[in-house]
Symmetry: C2
Subunit: 126 residues, 2 copies
Amino acid sequence: MNNRNTIQRQLVLEMVRAMQCHPDADQVYTEIVKAHPHISKATVYRNLNLLAEQGAMRKVQVSEGADRFDFRTEEHYHMRCRRCGRLFDAPDGAADVALTAETGGFFVENVLVELIGLCPDCKDKK
Amino acid sequence: MNNRNTIQRQLVLEMVRAMQCHPDADQVYTEIVKAHPHISKATVYRNLNLLAEQGAMRKVQVSEGADRFDFRTEEHYHMRCRRCGRLFDAPDGAADVALTAETGGFFVENVLVELIGLCPDCKDKK
DNA sequence: GTGGCTGCAAAATGTTTGCACGGAT
DNA sequence: ATCCGTGCAAACATTTTGCAGCCAC
């Protein structure tokens, strides 16, 4: 049974749900450590991956830097600011991908879309 | 002037063009080293990044593992096999992305699309 | 001759793993 | 009492960087 209800696992899940900013493993660890100085970074990594596998959260592998974690479990796309590095949810319908059958025999299971550009804050700071 | 024509730089460019398989930095290094045992991996990294910046090749940052380099310089999408890890060019028109203006103030400069699934070889080896 | 480029090694970054102990069931 | 999960440190994977000497210009 891969599902023991440890305090550490609860903390990781709750923290990702509380930080609604697509944090990476290190940011989650840094926040948890403030209240629980004993927790190990390896435990945070292990639980983030486990929880993502079980569907309690989503692992977002972006094209640059560390993997992020997202409390939203429904399929949705992301927008990454190339200046500040922050990740944002793309509003529903912001991007639409159409596939044809012409993949040369490649069987597509998943489509990853990442919109790269400038967030409102960085756009203004020209 | 950031453009001295060193032997190492030529070797890196030629090797990426010769290996038509989207190699990562380590694969490029391993191939070059066979004929030029003196070359440094740092030099390979530096030249790959420089050449990609100058537009002589393309850096492909995939969602898993090391960055790949592509001798094709035109914009095109890629398909990554989740079993063997190999990267393939998506045929023109295999995927089509439509953007709307509803990005909540985010300025989109670039759209990254990665088709993840099984390549013909791995699909058959069920 | 000058200053960009190289080789080397070390550091930086992000993540996983081996192992002994402790705690949830 | 089991044996999964934890903490710690070390290993691992990928990439960057500091520095002294070299070589294309």
